[in-house]
């Protein structure tokens, strides 16, 4: 047999992921704040250093998983986050969520989300998205709006053409990157589209046409907050998602539905970190439900 030229290795998978993250990163820096670069730099360097300390060698850096973890944390954290908070997030991600559980392949929780959630809870005042142009983001405004209706809120400059201002373009860029990952066959299309379906269906059911409890249309929710980043880059982490079809569908729908419920019913503006971490808990269970059977032929 002639070997497939498209053969992937763990390192090449991670390189594809970094390439796919580029458009989102560029849009985020261009439309937003240059300080995003500082945040991403601090978390990536933090993750790489922690990886070196934990493995006491530089051998495992080449698989790229630490770099991707740091990059994802940097993309999740708002641009105004102080650099030491980024460091704390990446140290928790790599040291506790990954290496304390046995290193690459053995972690139960998504390292990037564990680190991000930890600083979200530890430094709530420092990790608030507050962009210089429009004040609080659309999701922030929805979460803390009191009794105003969706139409009144959506007049604010935080809302864009079809999603949240600026975030709609960032989400579109991450969607493009995600489709690239599907095209080079690093991820399957099943998982991200189930996450998007979970968001869409839940948003549709919760959307009562614009009362003060409504949380916007499916379209708005797809292009607000971190939807596309989470659907294509975070939930698809192979280590912390099920590997059988049935499990993937349940897991991905769960992430979408939970994220949407957290957006609407909690005081957190965006719920992907917690949704992914909660869904991670069920992965060992899902692995057992949908185990493939042997064909006897």
């Amino acid at each position: 047999m002639v070997i497939d030229r498209n053969r992937q290795t763990t390192s090449s998978v991670m390189v594809h992921v970094m390439v796919a993250l580029l458009p989102g990163l560029v849009v985020q820096v261009w439309l937003g704040d240059w300080r995003t670069l500082v945040v991403i730099g601090a978390s990536t360097i933090g993750a790489l250093l922690t990886e070196i300390v934990c493995t006491r060698s530089t051998r495992d850096l080449s698989d790229g998983s630490a770099a991707v973890t740091g990059l994802l944390i940097g993309l999740c954290l708002p641009a105004t986050t102080p650099w030491f908070v980024c460091l704390v997030a990446s140290i928790i991600a790599v040291a506790i969520a990954k290496h304390a559980f046995g290193g690459l392949g053995n972690n139960v929780f998504n390292p990037a989300m564990a680190g991000y959630a930890a600083v979200l809870l530890a430094y709530p005042a420092l990790v608030v998205e507050f962009d210089t142009v429009s004040g609080a983001t659309a999701l922030e405004q929805l979460a803390h709006r009191g009794s105003t209706t969706i139409d009144e809120v959506s007049d604010s400059p935080a809302f864009g053409v079809f999603g949240a201002a600026m975030h709609e373009w960032i989400n579109l860029a991450f969607l493009t990157g995600g489709l690239y990952l599907i095209a080079v066959r690093v991820i399957s299309s099943l998982l991200p589209f189930c996450v998007i379906a979970g968001i869409g269906v839940t948003a549709f059911m919760l959307d009562d046409g614009g009362s003060s409890t409504s949380h916007g249309s499916p379209l708005f929710n797809w292009f607000a907050g971190g939807t596309m980043l989470a659907a294509f880059f975070i939930a698809t982490d192979p280590v912390t998602s099920p590997s059988n079809r049935m499990g993937i569908v349940i897991y991905a729908l769960g992430v979408g539905v939970l994220a949407m419920l957290i957006r609407k019913y909690s005081s957190w503006p965006d719920g992907f970190a917690f949704a992914v971490l909660l869904a991670n808990c069920f992965v060992p269970l899902l692995e057992r439900i949908g185990r493939p059977r042997t064909s006897t032929a």
């Binding site: 047999m1 002639v2 070997i3 497939d4 053969r7 992937q8 290795t9 763990t10 090449s12 998978v13 698989d63 998983s65 290193g103 690459l104 392949g105 053995n106 192979p238 280590v239 590997s243 059988n244 692995e287 057992r288 185990r291 493939p292 059977r293 042997t294 064909s295 006897t296 032929a297």
Partner: protein
């Protein structure tokens, strides 16, 4: 053209195979010590005898070489296609079967076959994926006929022989040579190698080696020797292995839809929690999972370990059952004896 070392005089007399009878040919194949050179090493004379016994409808020359980065059969066919076809004709005559098929995955051979205008053999081209060379899957692909894994293809009227085996048959019957060399892919390069050559003689510096392809070969010591069933010698790269990231690609590519990832985990963690023992025997070691694995994990090594562990477990279980039945038997006999004694003691004697 690959260089072949010159050989001594033929050991046997050549047989005029157009007027042969089956028993002469079978005896010759047996004397020449020909075994399945595709890798399984099943004695060819036994396979043909079974084909005679059940009656053969199709003889298939298996040239669908699909182990990753092995091209031994391909080069053999490019160089000696006519001899391979003669081998196929000899087997067809011997089994009194005129439906002869050559299955290949190599376009070049397929094309040169069709240029050479042969009408008693048909040539089929089969996709180049890791499972297609397995004989049951090949029969399924070519004739849409399913053979359960508990039965031999010969019981269903199919005889599948590797092209290298057919070449050896042709040389043994037509020319009278015992097989003493074969084409082997040695470190990504095809060449004729004499049998029983120590592996160490093929490389400049000692390094870990696998007998067989990179994906499906078994790890061996440097002084183990080449055999008729060795189609490749490849370098082993244990240092490239990384941790399993549970991507599930191995599960996706498995032609038997085995839960490869769960099997690996069960082996690595010695867990008895997952009931995957039954899956090991279903694996026919095509190596598709090894090729797909992004972490370069030698999955087949683990699965082979699992096969051994599963069969040991079955043996233990059987021994245990035997032991328990024996204990039961002994205690029953003891209680029967003691109750008989009781009766004997209590029966009053007549005197």
């Amino acid at each position: 053209m690959l260089e072949r070392s010159s050989r001594a005089k033929p050991e046997f007399e050549s047989i005029d195979w157009s007027e042969l009878n089956s028993s002469t040919v079978l005896a010759r194949i047996k004397d020449a010590g020909i075994i399945g050179m595709g890798g399984a090493g099943y004695p060819t004379a036994a396979k043909l005898a079974s084909g005679l016994h059940y009656g053969t409808r199709h003889v298939i020359a298996n040239g669908v070489e699909c182990e990753p980065e092995v091209n031994a059969d391909r080069s053999l066919m490019r160089q000696h296609l006519e001899d391979v076809l003669d081998g196929l004709r000899i087997v067809g005559r011997c089994l009194d079967c005129d439906r002869l098929t050559l299955a290949v995955s190599d376009r070049l051979t397929y094309r040169s076959f069709h240029e050479s205008d042969i009408d008693e053999v048909s040539c089929e081209i089969v996709g180049d994926n890791p499972a297609n060379g397995e004989e049951r899957i090949l029969i399924k692909t070519l004739f849409d006929h399913t053979i359960p894994s508990s039965e031999y293809p010969s019981q269903h009227g199919f005889v599948v022989l590797n092209v290298a085996t057919l070449f050896a048959i042709c040389e043994a019957v037509r020319d009278g040579y015992r097989p003493t060399d074969r084409v082997v892919t040695v470190f990504d390069e095809e060449r004729w190698v004499d049998l029983a050559t120590p592996i160490g003689n093929l490389q400049d510096a000692p390094a870990p080696v696998r007998l067989g392809s990179k994906a499906t070969g078994t790890k061996v010591l440097a002084d183990s020797a080449l055999s008729l069933t060795t189609n490749a010698v490849a370098r082993d790269h244990p240092e490239r292995t990384r941790a399993c990231i549970h991507c599930g690609w191995c599960d996706d590519v498995c032609p038997r839809s085995l839960p490869v990832e769960s099997m690996l985990r069960a082996q690595q963690t010695h867990s008895r929690e997952l009931d995957v023992d039954t899956h090991y025997d279903a694996c026919f070691e095509c190596g598709a999972c090894v090729v797909a694995c992004p972490s370069s994990i030698p999955l087949l090594d683990w699965i082979r370990q699992g096969k051994v562990a599963a069969s040991t477990k079955r043996l233990k279980q059987r021994a245990n059952e035997r032991f328990e039945r024996r204990n039961e038997r002994v205690s029953r006999r003891l209680s029967e004896e003691s109750s008989a004694r009781e009766v004997r003691i209590q029966t009053p004697r007549e005197w």
